[in-house]
């Protein structure tokens, strides 16, 4: 029984990170209908910036994360301005290719600056504590708590502020939002900023448990796509729920089936879902 709870907790940590990444992806998709393949690269850059801030500038982990999320947010905005804004009226295939171009560039850049080696990020929260017979590390608790706080803040921002509501308005109807006097350019930039922040946050939180390397974003972005297809492209609650569903199924699958193939669970899940419902579970979420 202990094993099960331990695995459930692991699922919760993994799921929290997945949800953060998927949230950014789903927000961008909701606004611009772009499957942002470069999102995984932002995730990777986020981890590297935190790592560099800690090792070369000696910043504290928390401050390093703050620097990282702001820089990645800005990189994300820059990407929207340079790449996606000029392409706003073109065909879907062009969006995808452009995003892949950015992905390839950022990965090569990381490879160039930081090398191909796997880097270990040290966390000041490595303590192990016992709660109800479970062995938990502070870092994992930090991941879960931070992720949930971030999600609540995002929810409040989207529901309670005018700016946040304009994002939802634009996701629901772009022309309508424009007619109501919403500056769609600003909203698109803001959305990309939030997406970058969430990706960097997720990456920085999980890096001390995993490792930092140039292609670390590949698997995560693939899984994030699976999650937002499970949850409905553009749906925010769907992304959160989907993230945790995947996190739990992976950690339980790893224990009771095979740890070798735990990565494949996400894709099998996706193939089953798209085979049955080609438009995803909830066709075009309400956001």
């Amino acid at each position: 029984m202990d094993v099960l709870f331990q695995q459930l907790f692991n699922g919760l940590t993994v799921g929290s990170v997945y949800s953060l990444v998927a949230l950014g992806l789903t927000l961008v998709y909701g606004i611009l209908h772009i499957p942002n393949f470069a999102h995984g690269a932002l995730y990777m850059v986020g981890a590297y910036i935190t790592y560099t801030m800690m090792t070369s500038l000696g910043l504290h982990y928390v401050f390093a994360i703050v620097v990282s999320i702001i820089s990645v947010g800005l990189i994300s905005v820059l990407m929207e301005r340079i790449v996606f804004h000029p392409l706003r009226d073109s065909t879907p295939i062009q969006h995808k290719v452009a995003a892949i171009g950015v992905l390839l560039f950022l990965e090569a850049l990381a490879h160039y600056i930081w090398g191909a080696d796997y880097q270990q990020m040290v966390t000041p929260y490595g303590q192990v504590i016992e709660v109800f017979g479970l062995t938990l590390t502070m870092q994992r608790i930090l991941i879960v708590v931070t992720a949930i706080v971030a999600m609540i803040l995002l929810y409040l921002f989207l529901k309670k502020t005018y700016t946040g509501a304009s994002i939802i308005a634009m996701a629901q109807n772009r022309e309508g939002a424009h007619l109501m006097g919403i500056n769609t350019n600003k909203v698109a930039m803001l959305t990309f900023f939030i997406a970058g922040v969430l990706a960097a946050l997720g990456a920085s939180l999980t890096s001390p448990i995993n490792l930092v390397f140039p292609s670390m974003g590949h698997l995560v972005i693939l899984k994030a796509f699976v999650i937002i297809i499970i949850g409905g492209m553009g749906s925010i609650p769907g992304a959160i729920l989907g993230g945790y569903i995947l996190g739990f199924s992976e950690s339980i699958g790893a224990t009771y089936i095979s740890s070798d193939y735990s990565d494949i669970i996400a894709f099998v899940l996706l193939i089953i879902i798209l085979t049955i419902k080609p438009q995803g579970i909830f066709a075009k979420g309400e956001a």
Partner: protein
């Protein structure tokens, strides 16, 4: 002037150039690079048929390339089959798997299709990587035989292999040309331009999309089988996403949805890569932004850009001639 540069003469000229290359270059390394480039072109033609002419971007293309390569490798090395039966069977196996994947994948559209095939590609890679009993896992497959002799013709020298691959490439281009200019090709283009419209005209979009998908996997399989017999060692890396992205770069730079795009793009990028050897792993620092820039500024790649410029030039000349005639009449 125009008569000399007619389409037919240019094509014949290029074929003669390609045929003479081994005697002009007299360099085994260049021959190797060019042969490999020809193999990539075949794969890019497959991708272009589906993405460029039918409008469905498949990101599992390297996966099918790898299936073709591993089919040939496993049939010759493990099943100890002769080269030619294996070489014929490998694309058939790839096409069979492509058919099964296509039936399901083509239920999805646009982004979903891209994401779905991305995941299919990754699964193919994972299976090759993890199924050590069959594929040898990360150690890969070694000792794949080179093409067997056809009667008195030996295919073991680099020059013979060059001509062998070139012949197959020319056949592939001919087949693609015939497809594009047939009713089937027009149907593919109709689906690309508007699937709903095609459907309303009574085109069975599902059947045609599946045909396009299966054909594209067939060419990937042919390219994979050629690759395996040419390099004679294969590892799971050939099914990796990076290969799909390489093929995508070749296609986009050359010109998506154009007949000569795959040749232009592949030659240009392979040539650039050779000249930018010092970049090696960082070559995507240049090709990544190049991909994005081309998509933004010239969506039909280099070929599309030149073709557009040429059409403009022709139009302008026509206008000039007309004006000149009018002026002459006035005088």
């Amino acid at each position: 002037m125009a008569a000399i540069f007619s389409k037919r003469n240019v094509v014949i000229g290029l074929i003669v150039l390609a045929a003479l290359f081994p005697y002009v270059a007299r360099n085994d390394y260049y021959l190797h690079v060019l042969t490999l480039a020809f193999i990539w072109m075949i794969a890019v033609y497959g991708l272009n048929l589906l993405a460029g002419f039918t409008g469905y971007l498949s990101l599992a293309h390297a996966g099918f390339f790898a299936i073709g390569a591993y089919a040939l490798g496993l049939l010759t090395v493990k099943a100890e089959m002769g080269f030619w039966p294996a070489f014929l069977l490998a694309p058939v196996i790839t096409t069979g798997i492509g058919f099964l994947v296509g039936i399901i994948a083509l239920r999805t559209k646009e982004h979903f299709f891209a994401i779905y095939t991305l995941c299919v590609g990754y699964i193919i890679y994972l299976v090759i990587d993890k199924w050590e009993g069959l594929t040898g896992g990360v150690r890969g497959l070694i000792g794949i035989p080179a093409p067997a002799d056809i009667g008195p013709i030996s295919l073991s020298t680099p020059i013979a292999q060059y001509y062998f691959v070139l012949t197959i490439l020319l056949l592939v281009i001919l087949v693609i040309y015939r497809i594009i200019h047939s009713l089937t090709g027009k149907t593919f283009i109709a689906i690309r331009n508007s699937e709903d419209l095609a459907l309303s005209l009574g085109i069975s979009t599902i059947k045609n999309k599946l045909l396009s998908f299966v054909l594209s996997t067939f060419f990937a399989g042919v390219a994979g089988a050629l690759y395996a017999s040419f390099i004679r060692f294969i590892g799971p890396d050939i099914g990796n996403l990076n290969i799909t992205f390489d093929l995508l770069v070749y296609m986009i730079v050359g010109g998506i949805g154009t007949l000569s795009g795959p040749i232009v793009g592949t030659l240009l990028i392979v040539w650039l890569s050779q000249n930018l050897q010092f970049l090696q792993d960082y070559r995507m620092l240049i090709f990544g932004p190049l991909l994005t820039l081309i998509v933004i500024f010239s969506p039909r790649g280099i070929v599309g850009f030149i073709a557009g410029w040429f059409t403009n030039w022709k139009l302008r000349r026509k206008v000039n001639i007309n004006q000149a005639q009018e002026q002459a009449e006035e005088v």
